[in-house]
């Protein structure tokens, strides 16, 4: 597939305000380039991530979801990222069970100083979702329903 015809995945990203959002900002300051395939929503803490945000993103047609927060022990709210991790593991199993490929859902720990890690992870997430092609499993397709 040539570069122009490459599948352009659409990814919903959720970054915690204190770590990964800062890392994304620093990637900008450092002018580190990555493909423009995700849209980020800032949340106070990954502990804020309701599973329904992820489900809603898939229902809206997102090809992938990326949640990223603070490293274990660095949570601004003591342990929100640990709750997120536990919740996330269960949701990921459930999604796999209903037929969503595991690589559509990503979770990472990126601190506000890890600009390079942010760039690398962004590329990895985008490429792994790109490899899977469009997600249709949770999108209500009117034509198919009718």
């Amino acid at each position: 597939m040539s570069e122009e015809n490459q599948f352009q995945p659409r990814i919903a990203a959720f970054f915690c305000n204190w770590c990964t959002y800062g890392g994304a900002d620093l990637a900008g300051v450092s002018r580190l380039q990555y493909p423009p395939n995700f849209r980020a929503i800032r949340i106070p803490c990954t502990g804020r991530m309701s599973p329904k945000f992820i489900l809603q993103a898939f229902r809206q047609g997102a090809d992938g979801v990326w949640v990223s927060g603070c490293h274990p022990g660095d949570c601004h709210y003591i342990a929100g990222n640990m709750y997120a991790r536990r919740r996330f593991t269960i949701l990921k199993n459930l999604l796999e069970y209903v037929g969503i490929e595991p690589n559509r859902l990503h979770f990472s720990w990126i601190s506000s100083a890890e600009a390079t890690k942010f760039q690398q992870t962004a590329i990895e997430v985008i490429e792994s979702v790109r490899a899977l092609g469009p997600a249709t499993r949770m999108v209500k397709d009117i034509r198919r329903v009718a």
Partner: protein, 1010 residues
Amino acid sequence: MTQKITSRPVGAVMVVGGGIAAIQASLDLADSGYYVYMVEKSPAIGGVMSQLDKTFPTNDCSMCILSPKLVEAGRHPNIKLITLAEVQDVQGAEGDLTVKVLQKARYVDLNKCIACGACAAKCPKRIPDEFNQGLGKRKAAYVKYPQAVPLKYGIDAANCIYFQKGKCKACQKFCPAGAIDYEQQDQELEINVGAVILAAGFKPYDPTPYPQYAYANFANVVTALEFERILSASGPWMGHLVRPGDEAEPKKIAWLQCVGSRDLNHCDHPYCSSVCCMYAIKEAVIAKEHSHSDLDAAIFFMDMRTYGKDFERTYVGAQEHGVRFVRSRIHSISELPGGSLRLEYVTEKGQSKSEDFDMVVLSQGLEMSPDAADLCRRLGVEQNQSQFAATDSFAPVATSRPGVYVCGALAGPKDIPLSVMEASAAACAASSGLAAGRGTLITEPVEVPQRDVRGETPRVGVFVCSCGINIAGVVDVKAVMDYAATLPNVVYVENNLFTCSQDTQDKMTEVIKEQGLNRMVVAACSPRTHEPLFQETLQAAGINKYLFDLANIRNQDSWVHADDPVAATEKAKDQVRMAVAKASLLEPLTEAKLSILPKAMVIGGGVSGMNAALNLAAQGYETHVVERDNALGGNARMLRTTALGEDVQEYLIELNAKVEAEPLITVHLGTVIKNVDGFVGNFKTTLVGDSGEELLEHGVALICTGAGEYKPNEYLYGQDPRVMTHLEIDQAVLGGELDLSKINKAVFIQCVGSREPERPYCSKVCCTHSVESALAIKEANPEAQVAIIYRDMRTYGDRERLYQQARSKGVIFVRYDPDTKPEVVTEGDSLVVKAQDPILQRTIVLEADLVGLATAIVSHKDEHLAQMFKIPLDQDGWFLEAHVKLRPVDFATDGVFMAGLAHYPKPLEEAVSQAQAAVSRAATVLSRSEMMLPGTVAWIDQRKCVGCGVCWTVCPYQAITQDDNGLAVVNEALCKGCGTCVASCRSGAPNLRGFSNQDVLAQISVMLQG
């Protein structure tokens, strides 16, 4: 000047320095009603901490934890940053000082610079970058580091082609903001303050003078600070572990300890630098993590000094992690062909060995910087024999000059938490004489009455920023504007060259009023840096500041998709659409006002508690000291002297008298705490004493409950009266029951109960205490034979001098390993200590008429108190601070602070400064009559709540409780707005204001509509 003494003191303080200590001192003062001038020599604040990769013992990323403090200091309305400046002279008396400051020209107009970096990009001159320890290059037009505060560029005239040769001016030509000003001149400022705090930090020791370490000649011998930059993600190799010589990844690295410390041969530094053992362990562990191969990391040391909170665990953990620790003396380093290095060393057993490494890190010590030494001399501040600013144990942050205080490494080598603690202590000490001037020089924000917009249709204004060419150079700003105008609820769109500039803010205020806007979206840079600024603008226009959202189309769009303008423009449109969708749903939030009762309760009447009470009273706050014993004094009643030889009992008498004479202090002896209700500003505590129960209302609480002494069941303790603990010896001497001049043979055994599996921590004070006792015996009876049997001598800092003194006076030091512990036995009437000497490799037998056991300090493990105040205990029973590095005396629970042994074992002077620090932190609460709480807190829709308890279980702040109906209710005073409860509830009862389910779902819904 002299006639002013009777008038009110000046309510401002100057803080000299820009590192973490200076920042903390400034924030404490500015938050408790004093105006602060922060004078920093370099172009930006941040100090050495900004250069570190990680911090021990938690391996927290240094910049991540520092950066919020930098921004807070940079934005604080009552802190004035004066960068590129040095103090020349101080005149006057405490309370009214005139300081002369010389500020160097930056050649960049601070008000115009937008930190776009165009000047640095175009500057043709490349020079070694000091921030990266010369391992990278910077331009002559530069910013010190990417997160610098103030984030303003500057021109280094000494290296600038224009200043040196008269032509170039590339920076001026390309600066989009017209900020370059070659005509700027150095300025002399005269500033009136009540006190000065010196926090000028230290200089990392330069190992060039060590010929045998060949730092200057061998490329792959680096200093520890260079290694920090190598490890740092923002360093010269973006955090890739490489050696400078050939940029190859090292497979074997050696750390050499005590370079420039504990050494009289190469430098005049007999003291221990206190931090190097820990940072070497940290670097070794992090390097192993960074390495792609199985890195062999070895630390060559004399004594491992891991004496702080959780340090010993880190040491043991590093050993388990595979870091090798080699007890040795290094003889020399030679370079092998290819750049690797050969270490020649002598082991403890006296064997000569050699080993090759790819890279060698010199654990450089800390020393007084020549500039800071000059400053001390100019100001008439005495220096101690190690050249650091001199202080005494009972006034640990006061210098020899009244009105001038000191904190951090300027007063001796120390780690970050101790520096932060001293910074708060200095803020407390500097301001106690200025209490009458508090609040007189600060600016209070003017409150604009807010228009009630509830029920109005959303009218969203969108301001799209070009940021010079930072955004507009990539994103089609016009297309984004046109698109924004088509979005629902958007009634006004405008483009600004620089939305953040002061004149644009003024215009925006007018626009908001004229257009009747009730929501605002700015498409520009990051909310992390600019949200508060735009919120202030909204507030100035009479609109609730929470009716705002920022679309980050610079840091997270134009800057990262520079090569794809079409996609970047599409992304910007999506970002604006999402922000408008969220903004349309936002509701005005109220910030709860909390009244603060200006009254403190101090729990514990030892040295920490008494100092805390006296300092609170000096700040003008009514204070209640609750002590369960029937007398004040605590453990200090059993101590003879401090490490500096000061008389502790004399001090206690003085302290007691001061407490008694202080009308603002009430002491409750023989009293314990039964119950605590309420929260910051409004605690209600039930005390139980001899006279029954009493209810005490107070605004803050200071936990100064101390610790106990371990009573051993080994070494014949309790069986032979000649075997005594530290405190028992001191007590017996104080009581006249023990005459040291009658002691002919004494043996001290270290680490009794410390560094053991059941108590895996170092008690910090015992090595020094035994050395002091040994010296006292030698003093009383020079003929006495004294031996100290130890594991590692941990006489950190200037205490090392006592250790050297003891050795030179003939005290014998015998090391032991935990598996070959010494034995104490009786042979007939005599008491005998048997120890395995690892140097002689045989058992040595020492007769003793006194055996001193350096017993552990043990926590009271006061779980009841912990539960009542909702504060955590760590695994050893010490109270766990809010953050081990940057909030060492605070708790996650607001309004509760701690000092002294309740936190961790520490010497007396640290307890005193910690008490002052706790008071400083408490003053940031008490100095306000009321507190505003952020509006972004959780609330519970009780119609949906079933009282299952998940939310109050997961809440990290115990902010959710059960009401009388068994349903959940949020205490807004405790909620920090993390949203964990919202995501955890199966019924959807909790929601988070500002980040509600609806807000986030709206953003998701429109995210993919583009």
